[in-house]
Symmetry: C2
Subunit: 343 residues, 2 copies
């Protein structure tokens, strides 16, 4: 990803919301990364304490956290996302230190942000921000999350083109006020599948650090790129219904699922030995989760080899949510890794 | 629930897996409760440190935790669930202190346990347990989790009757070996809707401490019995699509959903003021969750009154998973409550 960003001449500001780990964050430093993205002020504080000092918080400003915003802004360079003039006015009153500001643009995902049909609001925002002594308008930012619903590489790439098109159109319509603004673009599917980034200035993928079953099945990654699995003990076997019960439930995997052939799938079994994990095992799926229990359904010859007390490996559907639940990592060599402390 | 258990002459051994809180556990002491159920050895240890000394771990024995089992068994009375003779044989080799044993019976949920068609295995288990010097066979235990899929009180009550029927039939078929065994029965829907418990000796409901939207819509509880909501800041409003973005996502609520009129529902908005929360607001639903974002969809007049910086209250779909994610409580009077430390 670093190479691709360099070749395209864009800033690579990886999103740390998937791993939320200081240990993994340090791997990025080895690739020359100095700017990062996080999804909460708590995470910004966590990474700031480890020496990261240029952090974009890619979530709409939560006015109830103004104290934490000021605390962080006094120590590091913080980028905030805004989309409401009332939020900008309130920030203007309460800020005590300088911050970078990005206007959130909705390029089709319709979760947050202002769209092309809301140019008057965008223009009003730029002028409010420009008047504020402590806010520097840095850019326009978007997350084209609709790529997660695209089920082909072509569709993802087409969303990338239309979304970056919207960003450029907004910038153009801002005229002189838009000239110096950078265009920041997120999402792992786009950043994985697009070979050359043009028309944008910054990319912020996050999930690609681990990928997961969702990305694998969507064709965004291949199996060898998957960077994390969940290791679970077998606690019961039921060969008569081709099922095994594992100690791995909703509080470990999350209830995120994929719909495959009319079934809900929460993970896929992989080969696991003392050297780590290998190929996925065909037709061996985690098909049900309750609080602590997971039900693994697999062909007869797979189930017959599982016994209570053994451990198995499962690729989770959505690594961001699974990492958040497990709150830590173990490398295949036994080294432990941290996960963000606090919510 | 305590009154109902007393009137029926059954042991009330509440499941603490929903709240996982020492503070809330102490409320049960005021009702004379001395025996509890938990879903992990970690939880057993957590509650043992607060003086609970008769704890059933209602999850199949995880042989990889034998050290923790011995540690707990040296300090308190621990009940373990078994369903495999190989697990019993391994326990027999490794146990250093006495434990109570319950055989897990599958009365129709088909998650764990042995069914009526597996009497030879059940008989083999009883004889293995009886021969073990440190294991005392205490009873037959079931969780009729299929009541969660029943969509009427009649159906829940009918499952209760068939499930307790299976328990009694297994006991009878065990003959002399079954005579002294207690029959332990779980699940909040049954224990909420059945007025008088007959044919069983112990109940283990857990979710009823908070209930949630799932139970409300299933008719297991009424709104005034709901004991916990999630309080979230508003971070963006989009009146043009009747939506508000809240700081409350999958890492706060969990991805558990209800299918209502073809939509996925992750929570319902309630009236909230400084005195706590009141009535649910009609047609005001949490309709989408990503990692930190929640999308609330509501009628025009509701959305018009929401502004960034305000806080709102949402009844979660599944309180067990939401409590697990939020890792703590705040009472309406401001008092804080703990949640289990560790996974």
């Amino acid at each position: 990803m670093t190479q691709k960003a360099t070749l395209s001449g864009v800033i690579f500001r990886p999103h740390f919301k998937t791993h939320q780990s200081l240990a993994i964050g340090r791997w990025f430093r080895e690739f020359g990364i100095t700017k990062i993205t996080v999804s909460s002020l708590t995470a910004a504080k966590y990474f700031a304490q480890d020496g990261w000092n240029d952090i974009t918080v890619a979530f709409p400003v939560n006015l109830r956290e103004i104290k934490l915003i000021n605390e962080l802004a006094s120590e590091v360079r913080i980028g905030l996302l805004v989309e409401h003039s009332e939020v900008v006015m309130k920030l203007n009153q309460e800020l005590k230190f300088p911050v970078d500001i990005y206007i959130k643009i909705d390029t089709g995902y319709h979760r947050t942000g202002l769209g092309l049909n809301e140019m008057p609001e965008i223009i009003q925002l730029t002028s409010l921000i420009e008047k504020s002594p402590l806010m520097t308008l840095k850019g326009l930012i978007t997350h084209a999350g609709q790529t997660y619903g695209a089920h082909s590489a072509d569709k993802v790439i087409s969303i990338y083109h239309s979304s970056t098109g919207v960003l450029n159109e907004v910038k153009q319509k801002l005229g002189k006020a838009g000239e110096s603004l950078i265009l920041s673009y997120g999402d792992t599917p786009s950043c994985s599948l697009v070979e050359r980034f043009s028309n944008i200035d910054e990319i912020r993928p996050g999930n690609f650090i681990f990928y997961d079953l969702m990305q694998l099945i969507a064709g965004t990654c291949n199996f060898s790129q998957i960077g994390g699995i969940v290791v679970c003990p077998v606690v019961a076997v039921h060969p008569s219904r081709n099922q095994t019960v594992i100690y791995g439930g909703a509080i470990h995997f999350s209830k995120e699922f994929l719909a495959l052939d009319g079934r809900r799938i929460y993970g896929q079994l992989v080969e696991l030995d003392t050297n780590g994990w290998h190929q996925p095992i065909p037709d061996a799926w985690l098909v049900s989760l309750s609080q602590e229990h997971g039900i693994l359904e697999a062909p007869d010859q797979v189930i017959r080899n599982l016994h209570p007390g053994m451990i198995i490996g499962v690729v989770p559907v959505h690594s961001c949510l699974t990492a958040n639940l497990l709150q830590g990592y173990e490398m295949t060599d036994g080294e432990k890794g941290d996960y963000l402390t606090g919510i």
